[in-house]
């Protein structure tokens, strides 16, 4: 691990981010139409009002002036105002982000642990019935549309059995505070979280299985066995530790996708996070909101990828000394 490696990776991430910012501007300028006219359709605006609104939405001046102003504002984290609510986009994103981070973060952690254990078990016992059952389970959950799974779980556990609420984040009529409120929110989060955990578990299991299979051909496993170690020792001390490396990258990348990971599932459970915000912005469409969300989603992936790149040499000395 050299400073040069770290700086190179950081610069690469920065270049990607810059590209996203520029791309974002031009992408959203493809759309024809005048949002001021659309938004205030049927209302009599004076010329002065129209001008003020156009200015407020950053739609006056030449394309180049708009671009410069967009760059300046983006650097200051000013992502413009929502066409729908006229609130600053960044405020709405800040307000919705914690719910998404809680939901998808917990689901990712659960599926990560279960998936890795499943992958180790099926890879180490490859070709057995156990392996076949675990692998087909993983492939089936991977093939399932997550929001559809959510619809099924919602029907069974919320509508039919009445065990869980059908949606939202808390019971609006309860007026609970403190710990009670938190428990109520956890209660509302259970079903969407379970949905996502099942949806993600397959990928972790399949990646872990294939990296266990890769490691099983290595000489140091033969050596460990030759030393007379028990099978479980060979597995846990030698195979798993090395096989975890590719999964670490997958985990980091998955955490990058946390923010954007649950768009459809949040919609099914009306969970008030970034995903629901995205679907709501599709009606209209609320372009500044979509633009801001897309920027935040991309930035989070880029940052976590950088973290994975920088952490890797610490985890794997072979990369460090190369």
């Amino acid at each position: 691990m050299t400073v040069r490696y770290a700086v190179g990776k950081a610069l690469g991430a920065f270049a990607t981010l810059a590209f996203v910012v520029v791309f974002n501007f031009f992408l959203f300028r493809i759309v024809e139409g005048n949002p001021v006219a659309t938004l205030y359709r049927g209302r009599n605006l004076t010329d002065a009002q129209r001008e003020a609104l156009t200015h407020q939405f950053g739609l006056d001046g030449s394309q180049f002036e708009q671009f410069l102003r967009y760059l300046e504002q983006t650097v200051q984290l000013n992502l413009g105002r929502s066409y729908a609510t006229n609130q600053p986009v960044i405020d709405e994103i800040w307000a919705a982000a914690p719910q998404t981070i809680a939901l998808v973060g917990v689901a990712t952690l659960i599926s990560m642990v279960i998936g890795i254990v499943m992958g180790i078990s099926s890879g180490w016992n490859r070709g057995t019935t156990k392996d076949r059952v675990l692998t087909s389970t993983s492939m089936t959950t991977w093939s399932t549309p997550d929001f559809w799974l959510g619809m099924i779980l919602l029907t069974v556990f919320a509508v039919r059995l009445g065990l869980f609420p059908t949606g939202g984040i808390e019971d609006p009529s309860s007026g609970a505070t403190g710990l009670e409120k938190l428990l109520d929110q956890a209660w509302h989060m259970t079903l969407p979280c379970l949905t996502l955990a099942i949806a993600y578990v397959g990928e972790f299991a399949l990646v872990m299985r294939s990296s266990i299979l890769d490691v099983m051909r290595e000489d140091y496993l033969t050596l460990a066995r030759a030393k007379g170690l028990r099978d479980a020792q060979v597995r846990d001390r030698h195979a798993v530790r090395n096989a975890l490396l590719p999964s670490t990258t997958l985990i980091a990348i998955n955490f990058g996708f946390v923010l954007s990971g649950a768009i459809a599932v949040e919609t099914v459970f009306s969970w008030p996070g970034l995903g629901l915000l995205t679907t709501e912005s599709l009606a209209g469409p609320d372009l500044p909101m979509l633009q801001g969300l897309f920027l935040v989603f991309s930035a989070s992936v880029i940052v976590f990828n950088l973290v994975a790149d920088l952490a890797y040499p610490f985890l794997d000395p072979r990369v460090r000394y190369r």
């Binding site: 619809m151 029907t155 768009i263 992936v301």
Partner: protein
């Protein structure tokens, strides 16, 4: 030369097939897929297209459970779920295959160019595919679909232009190894042009990998179509499994427990996606030299 080459390729194909036939999971995938393709192609034999439009279903009972309106009941407008399911298979398969074709063509062109020419071409193309890899895929597809407007063509385009980078990387790596082989060097020494070497030597050697990879890209495209259609970004004029789920969810089918409406489309998606995945894995095991070595070792 060509006759000889074709004969050799035909024999190689025969060998691949006889190896493929021994893969039980791959065969299951192939049979399931064949059933769905037959249903999609022969849809008029199994279902009545006029029943997809609410104007023609005013006489049907609405929200009818399967027993009241066999085989699968009706939706909130009296449209039979079965007819929607049959015609929906066309959109899912079409989007899956067409988007994959776009992704494979872009991915192959980018991968072969990057691997073959190297240098700054390689760096620029690498950065481009890296960028597409880190972009959150579903949000990008959502944004593009929202901007371009909902239509079958746009859905295919959106999924196609966002799913090529994995293919490009795989192909590039393969080209880099093929490039070092002696027959490429010999061809060069005999004065072959870049175009000739690429077309006659590199591409045929990379092709098997392209095919295996394509089979594994289709399920991702089908899942993406389902999600985009569920979010209301599908073609409003065509019924697809995703748009059925959207209709059912928006009409409040969950609260009414009208499971016959939204259970079947999801099961169909799972079946088709699994079928493609099984076929892709079987092909990969036969065609990817790295896995092959692993199997023997």
């Amino acid at each position: 030369m060509t006759a000889l080459a074709w004969e050799r390729r035909r024999r190689a194909l025969g060998r691949t097939w006889s190896e493929y036939r021994r893969d039980r999971e791959g065969m299951v995938g192939l049979i399931v897929l064949a059933v769905f393709v037959a249903i999609a192609l022969l849809a008029p034999l199994f279902a009545d297209e006029s029943q997809l439009h609410a104007v023609n279903t005013v006489d049907n009972a609405v929200w009818a459970p399967p027993l009241d309106h066999p085989p699968l009941g009706t939706d909130n407008l009296g449209r039979p779920v079965w007819d929607q399911l049959v015609y929906g298979s066309q959109v899912s398969l079409l989007v899956g295959v067409a988007a994959t074709l776009i992704a494979i063509v872009i991915g192959t062109v980018v991968g072969v160019t990057a691997g073959f020419f190297g240098g700054w071409t390689d760096s620029v193309l690498n950065r481009l595919s890296e960028w597409f890899l880190v972009i959150p895929f579903i949000p990008l597809a959502i944004v593009l679909a929202a901007i371009l407007g909902p239509s079958l063509k746009n859905i295919i385009l959106v999924i196609g232009v966002t799913s090529w980078p994995v293919t490009a990387r795989l192909i590039r790596a393969q080209v880099l190894t093929v490039k070092q082989r002696l027959f490429v060097e010999r061809s060069r020494a005999l004065g072959a042009s870049s175009a000739h070497v690429m077309g006659r030597h590199i591409l045929p050697n990379v092709m098997p990998l392209v095919i295996a990879n394509a089979t594994l890209t289709v399920p991702i495209a089908i899942l993406s179509e389902t999600t985009l259609a569920f979010l209301g970004l599908g073609d409003p004029l065509r019924v697809s499994w995703g748009s059925m789920l959207d209709d059912a969810f928006s009409a409040g089918a969950l609260g009414r427990e009208a499971w016959w409406w939204y259970l079947p489309p999801g099961l169909c998606v799972i079946a088709v996606v699994l079928a493609f995945t099984l076929i892709g894995r079987a092909l990969e095991a036969i065609l990817d030299p790295r896995l092959r070595a692993g199997r023997q070792g």
